[in-house]
Symmetry: C2
Subunit: 453 residues, 2 copies
């Protein structure tokens, strides 16, 4: 009756080797978050469906994993409802909880629910899995981690600057070359305004966003298709093709958006951010990119995106400022700004660039080969001493064949093994073997501790 075991499609097991690498990413990110004064929170995996539904659009509602009510859920369904055979309608009767789809909506819910206990400005980070009933495909999973960091309750642009510093520091520590793209929703609004199409801001931005992929002619065609006036499209050309340094672009934008109040405000915000960055020691290149428009429906100020410079890969970090995240739960006028690190993509980049560190403090440094009772007796107190000195160490739990024990050490990437045979026992010494070079040396217990510490 044995079952062939498997896991749901789109989900993953993480082996020890993968976990060590993932934890390297999470620990690096957390350490930097903490350096900047951010503190962790966690929210439940299940939220009430009333909290989640309607927040991610119609498509998002479908992609929510819904949890069946416990007990005799059918007892509350009347005959008519049952006969209707409408899965969507029935769902609302038999399910009232769902798995969280992202960390943003639960965070907004958290802020509103706990607003009287929260110390504003609230600098929080949150690293937890989210679930989406997406069609699984390469690089897209039904369960994956998000790493979000936000400041809420402060509209100071210093927060934008610190998020950029965090990105700079995280990728410096991960040894990845990245570029930070920066834009501002107010500038996009200004552009739409000066070309006389203020209400078409989303269509315009979506089209401009495709410049790299489809080229200028096709962007212009799309603008025509969306019903943008030819005159407006003409006015837009110098903006789409804006180039040069950030200063050049800002200077040009100042001319072009002179008549738009919101546009001028966006330029001013960007200038303040760039001034801070010049003043501080940010090494990562920060590029003003007007085609950047991600999450436009709720960003209201800065928009960020980070890309690897070494590899063609989508965005590995992104975010922006939102002025009304908590409004959906009844708390108005709380401005926030945040970014999210894409752990799975960062993992893939590090893996392909071979940038994971070889040494880690999370794995075993030394294995005692087990030669039998007498030798074990001699080794165990020394093993305890190594551990007392903070050295990850283990002994093979039984005196099995030497080859089996060495294979165990090899498979687990343990850099050293300790051999204690007859002669070592007599001398009270231990032989330490370097698994990479094959070199072996005899050491006293004290020398061993010193050597491995």
């Amino acid at each position: 009756m044995a079952q062939k075991p498997s896991i749901p499609k789109g989900t993953r097991d993480f082996s020890p080797v993968e976990m060590v690498k993932r934890n390297y990413i999470f620990d690096t990110i957390k350490k930097v978050f903490q350096l900047y004064g951010f503190m962790p929170i966690e929210t439940p995996s299940m939220e009430n469906l009333s909290t989640l539904m309607g927040k991610y659009g119609e498509e998002g509602d479908k992609l929510l994993f819904k949890v069946l009510n416990s007990g005799d859920f059918l007892s509350k369904i009347d005959e008519t409802q049952l006969r209707e055979r409408n899965s969507i309608k029935l769902t609302t009767k038999i399910s009232e909880k769902g798995l969280r789809y992202d960390l943003t909506v639960p965070f907004a819910r958290y802020v509103v629910q706990h607003r009287n206990e929260i110390n504003f400005p609230f600098k929080r980070y949150q690293i937890q899995p989210v679930w989406r009933a997406d069609r699984p495909q390469k690089g897209r999973y039904r369960e994956f981690y998000q790493c979000d960091v936000d400041v809420i309750g402060s509209n100071s642009l210093l927060n934008e600057v610190e998020l950029i510093q965090i990105v700079d520091e995280v990728y410096k520590r991960l040894q990845l070359n990245v570029i930070i793209k920066l834009n501002n929703r107010k500038i996009l609004a200004g552009i739409a305004e000066v070309i006389g199409e203020a209400d078409k801001i989303i269509d315009i931005t979506v089209a401009i966003d495709k410049l790299d992929k489809i080229g200028l002619d096709n962007v212009n065609k799309e603008l025509v298709d969306k019903g943008i006036a030819q005159e407006a499209i003409d006015t837009l050309q110098p903006i789409i093709l804006l180039s040069g340094t950030n200063q050049d672009k800002l200077a040009k934008l100042k001319e072009l958006l002179a008549s738009s109040e919101i546009g001028r405000k966006g330029i001013e915000e960007l200038e303040i951010v760039f001034n801070y960055l010049n003043h501080l020691n940010v090494n990562t290149e920060v590029e003003l990119d007007l085609t950047l428009a991600r999450g436009l429906n709720y960003y209201t100020g800065a928009i960020f995106e980070v890309k690897s410079k070494d590899m063609e890969f989508g965005s590995i970090t992104g975010g922006g400022r939102y002025d009304d995240l908590t409004g959906i739960f009844g708390l108005k006028d709380v401005s926030g700004v945040g970014i999210s690190f894409g752990a799975d993509r960062i993992y893939d980049v590090l893996e392909q660039m071979n940038k994971f560190p070889e040494e880690t403090e999370a794995t075993t440094k030394v294995l005692f080969i087990n030669f039998g009772e007498k030798e074990e007796s001699f080794c165990l107190p020394i093993l305890a001493k190594l551990r007392a000195n903070g050295i990850n160490a283990e002994i093979f739990p039984a005196s099995q064949k030497m080859k089996k024990q060495m294979t165990y050490a090899n498979n687990k990437n343990i850099p050293y093994v300790i051999l204690v045979g007859e002669s070592e026992l007599e001398e009270g010494m231990l032989s330490l073997k370097d698994m990479e070079t094959g070199e072996q040396e005899k050491l006293s217990p004290e020398q061993l501790v010193e050597k491995l510490t």
Copy 2:
């Protein structure tokens, strides 16, 4: 249209203060696991219901949270099935995934599924949430973390010893006084055998287990009720009332169980474990307790339980050896031994004993009070220098009222604030205020870094 936000009953939000405390527990446990050569794995939150169902008894099946299939799940239900109005039967048609109920079954599934990649003996730990549709009550949640550590693929008793050492080390680091209770399923089997009731082992153990709570008379009454012969109950009396040191108890058991092979085997196992413990430096008291019977249905050798000595509290850690965990998934004869730390209970004990450390490296050490543009400009590079030296530091993001900024520091338990006003600016110095003593000193940037490092 604002919703009043709430979370599903039995679930929890964790605030930054709670998270720091929880992470202190998890980090302490993980560090010790790693010292002993254990490596982390993670499994998906959702498992196929075929993996989970039938593993936790009928009651357990009801307590599984089931996830509704995506899409038009009703389209696969025929008229008869619908009319039957049987929630349990319908569930199997509209749901094929469930949230994991514990870490043991997913681990068994993992071992079988990945048996060709695993390096045996497999020393793994796993710290992840589990979900149970239990009726929520004080101290019982529908989502909670388990911390499991197991060695699988080795029947060496050294593994039992190392788990006891891990318990000893974890609670030493957490500064809690605990007692480790130890028993062995083979001894219980031997007892049932010598009193002539081998098939009633579970009834007998369940009754003995209640000795502390209901007293000897009631235990004996329960044994009668279960149909145990009076003669057997009489033979059992000296065993139930066994007292003295572990040596005393073992000596007595040797006499009483002399005729039972499995009983003698159990005694031998315990003696080996106690010999190891005497040889090593285990400070925690380890007590042989014959009334200990937890998880009897699948433990086959050692049984562990850890209790706080300072507080009346249930078990805070427990486990044992199981010889056929993976059999349910078709892999026979793989012996394992493991324990599980109850993070929520450990949290409650630490909280009530006031044993959480005051200082932590996870929180902000110093806040720069923001007095305005000029002062901020002076402070920002110094702030960057502190962070470069690994000091968690922040600046209030805007120059708001002094009182508001000080309150922020207070609420966040930040031990130091830095004040830079006119006079400090002129001198190029910073005033460092100790928030606990109220003392204040003027320091150069270099002195500041040195002081806080």
